[in-house]
Symmetry: C2
Subunit: 197 residues, 2 copies
Amino acid sequence: MLYAMGRWEPNTRERLVRAAVELFAEQGYDMTTVNEIAERAGTTKTTFFRHFPDKREALFAGQDTHSRLLADAVAAAPDTATPLDAVGVALDALTAAFPPERRAFAARLRVVIAGNDELRERAAFKRAGLAVALTDALQQRGVPDPTADLAAELGVLAFYRAFDRWVDPADDPATDQTFTDLARQALRELRAALPEL
Amino acid sequence: MLYAMGRWEPNTRERLVRAAVELFAEQGYDMTTVNEIAERAGTTKTTFFRHFPDKREALFAGQDTHSRLLADAVAAAPDTATPLDAVGVALDALTAAFPPERRAFAARLRVVIAGNDELRERAAFKRAGLAVALTDALQQRGVPDPTADLAAELGVLAFYRAFDRWVDPADDPATDQTFTDLARQALRELRAALPEL
DNA sequence: GGAAGTGATGTGACTTGGTAACGTCACTGT
DNA sequence: ACAGTGACGTTACCAAGTCACATCACTTCC
């Protein structure tokens, strides 16, 4: 599989993602055509759609694995774990997929997504997918109906609250905590806020 | 403003919605073109896009008001109300917009939406919008940060769990409860499940 | 009561996202 | 050597969505 000297440049997929993020940041999402992205990546429109089902998905590629990370971790949690314990383990597993090197890229990505409704829509869909994955995994281990929904929603909420803090340099300028740490902290906060409802 | 005998048939918007739902149910969402919808409604593609920003939105028109119903109700809740109390009041206000006559239509709509990813994506976006509206309204009345998020997410969860029961004839075949009753019941269930986390 | 204006619609041309059929060629395994 | 295989390019096409412009019932103002 040595394509290094092949007919085409390697890492086509990665080049497409980089080109897409760059162009979206430069000119905005809807002012950028798939042809432009492909051209900057040194390829063509058809190849773009061979790698991604649609234009938006270039920014969300790889997130399909997140649901599996959550589900597997919940399934592997000890039988004695409460629903929120299992959710905590799942968040540990998911956040482990976000090493500090990815932080700057995630930050740029977030800005681009926040600036366009089509992208925010896709983001909402992905978020809903995470919640469904958590709910299903919890029900699989015997957690009854309303409780599983609640725990899943709470876990997803903790994940995104932690993501915001991880990416946003405004809070905690010096500490530079791990995503996993932030997620644990967010989950503790939410748990502590439950009696306030 | 008497258009009854005007150049065109009245109620264009409503005719477009009906045509869209019919065609989507008959042939599926992606097998139906906007031209077909417009033709069945006795108009043209351009007019369709004058009424709806995109093809999907024909099925979600009017839901923009739901966020405002929630926000206004939360703002109007008495100062003594807890976050979950305010959410309960908001759900009462929102569910009041779903009279029993709309149930059959809502049921057909739900089947169509569930059958297509683009539509499910839009639905997830709308759902996220409801959560944001609730969160903002709660924060406006002084509910602190993590608690507002929690209460909003819980309220949205209750709404959709109640919606499922309202629409699905499988459960409670005889009782035929009001959407508002079902929402209150769902909220109580979730509240009762909190200690199980 | 006639003229100018308004608002919802139709027409046609256009851009772009997305699909599909087909050809090309480096690389792989036999 | 030789028949795959897989990733890519080329071309043509369909449908979503935009835009500029024309039409005409109805309204308003003089």
